[in-house]
Subunit: 203 residues, 4 copies
Amino acid sequence: MKRSRTKSGATDSRDKIVQAATTLFTQTGFQDVPVEEIARLAGVAHGLVFHYFGTKARLYEDVSQSAADRLDLVHIKATQAAKTPNDKLRAFLESHMDAVSQRRADYVFHSRGGATPAIQAIWENSRSNAIHLVLGFFGVAQPSVPLVVATRAWLGYYDELVLEWIQDRGVPRDGVIVSSLRLFPVVMAQAHLLGAKDAPQNL
Amino acid sequence: MKRSRTKSGATDSRDKIVQAATTLFTQTGFQDVPVEEIARLAGVAHGLVFHYFGTKARLYEDVSQSAADRLDLVHIKATQAAKTPNDKLRAFLESHMDAVSQRRADYVFHSRGGATPAIQAIWENSRSNAIHLVLGFFGVAQPSVPLVVATRAWLGYYDELVLEWIQDRGVPRDGVIVSSLRLFPVVMAQAHLLGAKDAPQNL
Amino acid sequence: MKRSRTKSGATDSRDKIVQAATTLFTQTGFQDVPVEEIARLAGVAHGLVFHYFGTKARLYEDVSQSAADRLDLVHIKATQAAKTPNDKLRAFLESHMDAVSQRRADYVFHSRGGATPAIQAIWENSRSNAIHLVLGFFGVAQPSVPLVVATRAWLGYYDELVLEWIQDRGVPRDGVIVSSLRLFPVVMAQAHLLGAKDAPQNL
Amino acid sequence: MKRSRTKSGATDSRDKIVQAATTLFTQTGFQDVPVEEIARLAGVAHGLVFHYFGTKARLYEDVSQSAADRLDLVHIKATQAAKTPNDKLRAFLESHMDAVSQRRADYVFHSRGGATPAIQAIWENSRSNAIHLVLGFFGVAQPSVPLVVATRAWLGYYDELVLEWIQDRGVPRDGVIVSSLRLFPVVMAQAHLLGAKDAPQNL
DNA sequence: GATGAATGAGTGTTCATTCAT
DNA sequence: AATGAATGAACACTCATTCAT
């Protein structure tokens, strides 16, 4: 973020490290990738990783942040063009699936429990962004807790379908999207159930 | 030295190890718990862990399998008493939340990606059991793929709510259950969308 | 040796252990065979090994001693029948090769450097026995050092041939024996060269 | 901490490790020397051993190879100057004994069964080199199997004498050499006995 | 005699991190 | 910026040995 990518080729190495790290971390997770291997894949001395990132954990955070930023951006860009809330919602879901199919990496990062609190925060934040983005489609700028929770749970439904779809076991892409789209209003309609503990509820 | 080598204590030690392992693994995950620490908590020489389980990974598998079995059993027992399908479904959800609140361990295991393929299989199997149990409530003995997928996604919705509830951020227990209960028929009703890729769909 | 093998089946276990140990030690050596494995092969609790032998090393010594005794006995028995010294010598060589082909075990023990000084002593003693046996064929009861050394070296020649023969690379059994037989008198004839350091020698 | 991390010292450390390993391995064998001890003797962190050699076994192989190469070289250099085959043979034997007396290490490695197949191969190769070198003295460039076997056995004779000489039990150095020298033609003359199995032989 | 639970010292190996160059 | 030698803490796993039963 704060790092300026000047025209100098010096940052080449930095980028190569980030790329290598992304590849390897998504394949086997944080603990199973020695810095040595990242450096080897990047074609760089492994000491350089510490020169740039100081710590293996910080490298992981950097890589995670990048992936999260990328995902957030995809969501935003994809939904800007659409007009109606429903179209935006569909665009959101579609962009997510497209992102996943193209950069499986981001998704893997997403679902993996973060190695560090810092990393959990990164993905928690990204998810929160998505939730607010979605609710924004419908004019909700400062959503109540129940609405946020409901949306998050709805994303849980959608995520599970995406996971199934990725594994390519016959679940159709459009089925995932349509199913999620149809469920959304239902979930919203009963979001109030997830509200303050003392609120009256009955089946 | 200070340890009494009674023969009757044989299974005692094994159990103590399993308990200690369960506790520690759920707190920090597989890789972050040295066998030494498990042994210390169990009040046992760390060599004994290998005497019984041969490998740290196998201990983890054992512990996982136990937790999964426990969860499956809880589901089954809790739902037997209920009469109507709806009551059974509610009993299922409630028993799950109770189990989670009492044995947070099981749940954490559940959501964490398994360290080993063997472990992923264990939890995948448990989840599959739950899905078939639920569908069985409604007389579906040999469910189609779309139905299974839909149920799995519905559990994704429910899981997310449970996670929120666990963290105690104001989401009411009953809200989680009622919300999930109401969603179930809706999800079932559109399960067909998740069927064979060439099936006709439209919003 | 000192152990009385009474009719009781109790010593069955002891024998089974010795047999198992012999098998395994000759396959992979002292350090690479866990007592546990010996016990498993013997069908016995591994604690029993220590009950009988006290130490893994002592078990190894026992096994070595047995093998050495067996070899010595074979040599003696085989050469008793023969009449002339030359026939005895031939009988000695032949019996050795036969023993080797039947109980490769003994030979392996022989050539392996002993794990313990005690074990080296065992085989050193067996070799010494063989040397004196051979020299005895020719009426030499109390051989001088040079004679002993020469005979030992001659056995080194023979051993190398036997090793080659065992590996079955086309060296004929009889060639090994005849070659060694013919060499013996030559070696004896120049044994004096290996005598006291200040003795006069010239080519 | 106290160690200077000079770049020039890079190969220094590697050498120090090899030297320390050679010393210790020849004293007590592969299995009885902890890497830790090698590192301590070399004045180096034990991690460095793995940095350079990856495995304890590979270090052992490296060390063995070096010793074997050294021995081969000694043989070659020592015999180049001599004119007649007989002088060359004598030079060979003498150089071997000199090498042994100076670097007992090489010899011990030699006679010990290798820990690894790789190591056995190394010494087998060195021995093969010696055999061909010796036969080369007499104009035999591509020796038949029987000749090779005979020479190997003759070296077995010689080895046994050297072993006796090393232990300093009164066997004169020159006796070892002269005795071996005189035996050589005899052994060669009957090498044919060790040939194809169906060849005719009689005493 | 026989078992196997229990111990704990020992060891090979990994790897993040430092730092002189 | 870049290298890679060097460190050392950490850890999984082995195994001889003991001992209560």
